[in-house]
Amino acid sequence: MTAFLALLRRDLKVASRNALPLLMATLTQPILVVLVFGNILPRLHLVADEFRTVMVPGLMSITMLMAGVQGVLMPLTVDLSGSREVDERLLAPISVFAVALEKVVAGAIHAAVAGLVALPAMMFLMHRVTGVEVHPQLGVLLPLVALCGLLSAAFGLTIGSQVQPRFSGLLFAVILGPMMLFGCAYYPWAGLAVIGPLQYVFLLNPLVFMSESMRLAVTPDVPHMPLPLLVAGTVGFVALFTVLGARSFEKRTIL
């Protein structure tokens, strides 16, 4: 446990030194989307008023997904690079699984901070626009943000330890891009009833559970999944990706 906490302290220290570029990397996109879709287009009457409310939790979940994946992927690329910095961690008195788990926790903290910064930033940018019904419920928001952070980082570990760094561009285009579009970020999952049973195929996308969690926590008036289903889905995906990610991390590092 001592080694685990020391590794986490090291990662947070390094991340806090790079806090500004890290936050810029994760926040630029949601802020610009809010500016255009939440401020300009509604004033031009080109999008429905409800869209502004619907996209706030969705953009939070996308921000967390990106931050969590990058928060694991970037250090992992350095770790597994030619100089094998990861070997120092593997030689610490700690199991390989714990080394992998520490990466998930560090990435989750990164994702949670990004999500919690994105929310007020978006609310600030839309504060002049009426009709936005954002009411954060802190009591459920904080634990759900933590769970969603873990999910993003565990997912980041799973893909990061399986994909060669030179394909990371492809990763964003082919995996994360579709995930975001089909992740119920811009529409509530309940609304998908219009497409019939295909609605349930969307549940294979972990981002759906994150978007719906944020919907429940910050825009409770918009239709969303019930809490037990959200928690079960999110926890299930966290467990799945942590095990898969730790396994492929071990395969990559221990010959």
Partner: protein, 324 residues
């Protein structure tokens, strides 16, 4: 003296893929290192040295066999075994996001050293390795020699019982190499067990008390450098660079005082061949050798009579020079 490290029938086969066949990197390797010993693993690239070190340090999973460090099986009790060992790896894997001093203090923290202790130890090691004025620099801004010293300092932070060094002087300039040798000697005198892989014969000869010469995953010979050299026939080496139209080696071998002739596979410029004669120097030996060369209408480019070195032992054992 008790064995602090025991390697028993170690085998490591890297599984093949569709594109490449399986590689048997280590084939049934066994040796024991005594507490306080300076032990060398000598061999060419690809001999299995780094894989052996990997198995000892838990970074490579053995296919079969056992590695026991201080009574602990490294596969069954990796966490406890890892507390007892430290590694100076071949690739300098310093944490590039931390400052030099932080590299040491965080390493101490990973091993559970209390704050005051790790700070004090970091400062002491920085001073010992003459890195104090670089304490706040980034590791990658240091020269290769300084980085290597930092790696040694990092390895010593958690007070290991066994220090493993994988080709520690590769790429260092002569001054840095000598300084590292001095450091390693000092650590050895302080009672630390050191295990070093190298393909520099001179280095192994100067530093190691016992040397295992390995190639193709097997130990060819294991003894003190002096005993290894003593085991060579003759006691002196006559090194010839020779070019002749007729085969000359059998004629040289039949000369009195010449115990054995080895062809070194390297061929010099202009078709010169290198022959190593294990000789018992007697009066007139050089004359007789020259007569044979002239009798075969050969040219002689270079002659030297030397004491055998570990490199000669290696060439004697494998019939080839070290592969670079």
């Amino acid at each position: 003296m008790s064995g602090i490290l025991r390697v028993e029938n170690l085998v490591k086969t890297y599984p093949g893929t569709r594109k490449s066949p399986a590689v048997e990197a280590v084939k049934d390797l066994s040796f024991e290192v005594a507490s306080g010993e300076f032990f060398g693993l000598l061999g060419p690239n690809g001999a299995g040295k780094s894989t052996t070190l990997g198995c000892i340090t838990t970074l490579v999973r053995p296919t079969s066999g056992r590695v026991v460090v201080d009574g602990l099986d490294v596969v069954r009790a990796p966490r406890e075994a890892k507390r007892r060992i430290a590694v100076v790896p071949q690739t300098r894997n310093l944490d590039r996001d931390l400052a030099v001093r932080e590299v040491l203090t965080f390493h101490g923290a990973y091993f559970g050293l209390p704050k005051a202790e790790r700070e004090a130890r970091a400062d002491r090691l920085l001073a010992e390795m003459q890195l104090t004025d670089k304490a706040n620099a980034k590791p990658l801004s240091l020269s290769g020699g300084l980085q290597q010293r930092l790696l040694v300092a990092r390895a010593l932070m958690h007070d290991p019982k066994v220090l493993l060094l994988d080709e520690p002087t590769i790429g260092l300039d002569p001054q840095a190499r000598r300084m590292l040798w001095e450091t390693l000697r000092r650590l050895h005198e302080q009672g630390l067990t050191l295990i070093m892989t190298t393909h520099y014969m001179e280095e192994a000869d100067r530093l190691c008390q016992r040397v295992a010469i390995i190639d193709h995953g097997k130990i060819l010979q294991l003894d003190t450098p002096a005993a290894l050299k003593k085991a060579l026939p003759g006691g002196r080496i006559l090194d010839l660079w020779v070019r002749s139209p007729e085969p000359i080696a059998p004629r040289l071998e039949s000369l009195p005082g010449v115990l054995r002739v080895e062809k070194v596979t390297t061929v010099g410029e202009d078709g010169f061949e290198r022959l190593r004669l294990f000789v018992d120097p007697k009066d007139g030996l050089l004359d007789r050798v020259l007569q044979v060369v002239q009798g075969a209408a050969g040219d002689l480019q270079h002659v030297s009579l030397t004491q055998p070195s570990l490199e000669d032992v290696y060439i004697h054992l494998t019939g080839k020079e070290l592969r670079e």
